[in-house]
């Protein structure tokens, strides 16, 4: 029964949904995404972006011209061109690698990397003026928090911290944010070879990107196995091709209630700012106990990074570093394709490009190098954080 319950979580899509109808039609050509405006930042390297309403928050990374990535930038994005409204600085931080506003827009969580690792929690009562209400430190995260995901589990807010280090095994640390002013650590568990890089949390399931250990799915309250954030229980694992599992997005398609696919980003080696590597992988989680990779997308000399979705339209947005932004139509069956649409004669995975699933390409027409770290789709617009140039606002791709 438990297995059946778990399998059902991702298996309610007997209807494959409405996929791209390419029969008797010329294959769709990817559009060049329209750029609404740019908020230029050249003083620091921009990292992640998170948007709530008309306010965007970008984090900063590394050191640029002597300036550390210790700044959190606050943008008014109500117009076409993002307007910088505020800059907050985090003490004793070299990199703010991750930033995320909570779904309800009440709080903002920022991860600090390199010692001392921490998360900083801000109150967003005034979205343009975040107010720090706590900073969580723990011996388990001292080396640095690489990414932090903030999501509710059964109505209870948690932060999921991915801690990477050579000094001790990489680990997942979960922090109870029910009272954001007083974060409480509820779990510290070593995992990942050699990294746990990121997590995705939805419907009481936790997806962990464990680099060469692939993607593992855990029950933390929605999987029917008795798991919780205090005690995640493993459901299934898949080793995606090439390893280096970096981040994920579990697609819930409202058009047909399909929850069949998880998109996994692979972060291959990169010469940051110049070129990257790593494919987008599509994992079929119809049976959560036995997820299987069914499709992929590759760009030569470029690599995928963070993901966002326009779920009602079935469009996946992927930051692709030096290749800008790529948009995919991911509605329907991604695991069935013709022989010509497979990766190769010896690789049975489907190739999203050969399946004409690429719908848009962004920021390759700017006449200058870009290096897109993150994307966030909100209300018809896509916000792309560019390590080299700041924050871009683009128009979303319509079906």
């Amino acid at each position: 029964m438990l297995l059946a319950a778990v399998a059902m979580v991702g298996c309610d899509d007997s209807n494959p949904g409405v996929g791209p109808d390419t029969t008797n039609k010329p294959p769709p050509v990817p559009v060049v995404m329209s750029v609404a405006g740019q908020g230029e930042i050249l003083s620091r390297y921009t990292a992640e972006v998170s948007v709530h309403g008309n306010v965007a928050y970008t984090s900063t990374w590394g050191t640029r011209a002597g300036a550390n990535g210790n700044a959190l930038l606050v943008w008014d994005v109500s117009g076409n061109t993002p307007q910088l409204r505020d800059s907050l600085f985090v003490d004793q931080a070299v990199t703010l690698g991750d930033v995320q506003a909570t779904e309800d827009g009440k709080y903002l969580v920022v991860a600090t990397e390199l010692a001392p690792g921490s998360i900083v929690v801000y109150d967003l009562a005034d979205p343009l003026k975040p107010r720090q209400i706590s900073r969580f430190l723990s011996p388990n995260i001292t080396r640095g928090v690489h990414t932090a995901e903030v999501q509710p589990v059964n109505g209870h807010l948690y932060a999921f911290l991915s801690v990477n280090s050579s000094a001790f095994p990489s680990r997942l640390v979960i922090v109870d944010l029910a009272d954001p002013a007083n974060p409480i650590e509820v779990l510290s568990r070593d995992m990942g070879r050699p990294f746990i890089h990121d997590v995705f949390v939805r419907s009481g399931l936790l997806f962990t990107a464990l680099w060469h250990d692939g993607m593992t799915i855990w029950d933390i309250g929605g999987g029917g196995r008795g798991g919780s954030p205090q005690n995640p229980i493993e459901i299934g694992n898949v080793r995606t091709v090439n390893g280096s599992a970096h981040n994920m997005f579990w697609f819930h398609d409202p058009s047909n209630n399909s929850k069949r696919y998880v998109f996994v980003g692979e972060e291959g080696p990169a010469s940051i700012g110049n070129r990257a590597s790593g494919d987008l992988h599509v994992v079929d989680v119809s049976d959560m106990t036995r997820p299987v990779e069914v499709a992929m997308y590759h760009v030569t000399d470029a690599g995928v990074h963070n993901l966002s979705m326009d779920e009602p339209n079935g469009m996946l947005y992927a930051a692709f570093y030096n290749a800008g932004v790529r948009v995919f139509d991911v509605r329907g069956d991604l695991g069935s394709c013709t022989a010509e649409q497979k990766v190769s004669a010896t690789d049975s995975r489907c190739d999203l490009e050969k399946m004409n699933r690429v719908r848009g390409i962004g920021l390759q027409d700017r006449g200058k190098p870009v290096f897109i770290w993150g994307v966030h789709f909100v209300a018809g617009n896509v916000y792309a954080s560019d390590m080299l140039n700041g924050l871009w606002k683009l128009r979303g791709v319509t079906r």
């Binding site: 050699p194 291959g268 940051i272």
Partner: protein
């Protein structure tokens, strides 16, 4: 032996550093048994005590240090081996921790006290290994299986789960008197991530070396080329780093004059909270661009020896260098400017090397490989 030196490095339109060190402090020992058929070699290095912050050295990198030369491990070398013959071939087999048969000789044994930038391109040091060597006439072949992981700190030992995951081979020919040519190749698994998941390296090196005798004005000269390409999984030749280096020394009435010209490319890496340390392993196995380092170095030294007091050798020296760093890619995320405030640097070092007792003439060649060619008379 040990060297005390003070260094001043000034960047054009940038910062100035004045530092002093006890560098290369070590005790060497060797023993031979059964008419030399069995030999033990040991070097204990104290840099872990005297050089923990690293030695300021523009362009050098490796083992978590950048623009500072890292301290070596305490047990720099501990090798035990045997030699014999089979027909015309002289054979040897050594095992222990030591210098891998790849590239050129340990810079510690060469004319300059300060290391070149290509140390991690042209040498592989301090690995647990088994080295087999065969010498037939003027040709010597060496091969080693060793652990790929580089030391993580001066107290570190090779990781037992990494033994023999890497290999190197070197061929050397002693062409004519004083000259030898060598070529070597190595495949090193994940040197910078001790867990073994990091970038792998394919390495090549070639050199031509001249070693004079005490009657020659030119005591030593070497020209070398070295290249390292990094790869991971199916992604071959992600990027490569290369080096060309010439150095030599000549004896003059006022002392030994040495010169070194170097052109070496290196990765830029995410730096730690300090500007001279890089994060290990590299986060997400990414680099932050590549830079090219060009340097011109000249040095003077003059040795004084007192055989009557237990063979004490005292060698004052002066070394002057000009370094220039240039980006090799469109974007170099973290420029060396972070550390120095400029990309053109002038450095001046002065100090004295002190040796007591019998010094070894070379390091890194074991058994029948050790006697190929003459040894550099730099110390």
């Amino acid at each position: 032996m040990a060297a005390g030196l003070v260094t001043r490095i000034a960047a054009k339109d940038g910062r100035t550093f004045n530092e002093g060190y006890i560098t290369q402090p070590m005790v060497m020992a060797s023993a031979a048994f059964w008419s030399g058929k069995l030999q033990a070699l040991a070097v204990y290095n104290f840099e872990g005590n005297t050089l923990r912050r690293g030695e300021l050295s523009p362009g050098t990198y490796g083992e978590g240090y950048i623009d500072r030369r890292h301290p070596h491990t305490h047990v720099h070398e501990l090798m035990l081996g045997a030699r014999g013959a089979l027909g015309k071939a002289q054979l040897s087999l050594y095992a222990g921790k030591g210098i891998v048969p790849f590239g050129s000789e340990d810079p510690m044994m060469r004319p300059f006290t300060r290391y070149p930038a290509n140390h991690h391109l042209a040498q592989i040091l301090e690995r647990a290994q088994i080295v087999a060597a065969a010498r037939i006439g003027r040709v010597t072949l060496e091969a080693s299986g060793f652990n790929g992981d580089e030391p993580e700190n001066p107290r570190d030992w090779p990781n037992s789960d990494r033994y023999f995951d890497s290999w190197a081979a070197r061929a050397t020919i002693a062409a004519v008197a004083g000259f030898e040519a060598s070529a070597s190749a190595a495949r090193v698994k994940s040197p910078e991530d001790p867990a073994g998941f990091g970038l792998n390296q394919n390495k090549w090196a070639a050199s031509l070396r001249y070693s004079g005798t005490s009657n020659n004005r030119v005591r030593y000269a070497m020209v070398e080329w070295a290249q390292t390409s990094e790869w991971l999984g199916p992604r071959k030749d992600l990027w490569s780093f290369a080096s060309g280096l010439f150095e030599g020394s000549a004896r003059t009435p006022i002392g030994d004059i040495a010169a070194r010209l170097e052109r070496t490319s290196r990765p830029e890496e995410q730096r730690d909270e300090t500007p001279f340390r890089s994060v290990r392993p590299l986060l997400d196995f990414g680099i932050l661009g590549r830079t090219l380092w060009e340097s011109v170095n000249v040095g003077w030294s003059r040795g004084f020896g007192w055989q009557s007091t237990g063979n004490v050798q005292v060698t004052p020296f002066i070394e002057v260098s000009h370094h220039r760093a240039r980006p090799l890619e469109r974007v170099v995320i973290v420029s060396p400017e972070v550390a120095f405030g400029g990309l053109r640097l002038l450095s001046f070092s002065a100090g004295v090397r002190v040796g007591l007792g019998a010094m070894r003439g070379e390091m890194g060649r074991y058994g029948v490989a050790s006697s190929v060619g003459a040894t550099p008379p730099n110390r």
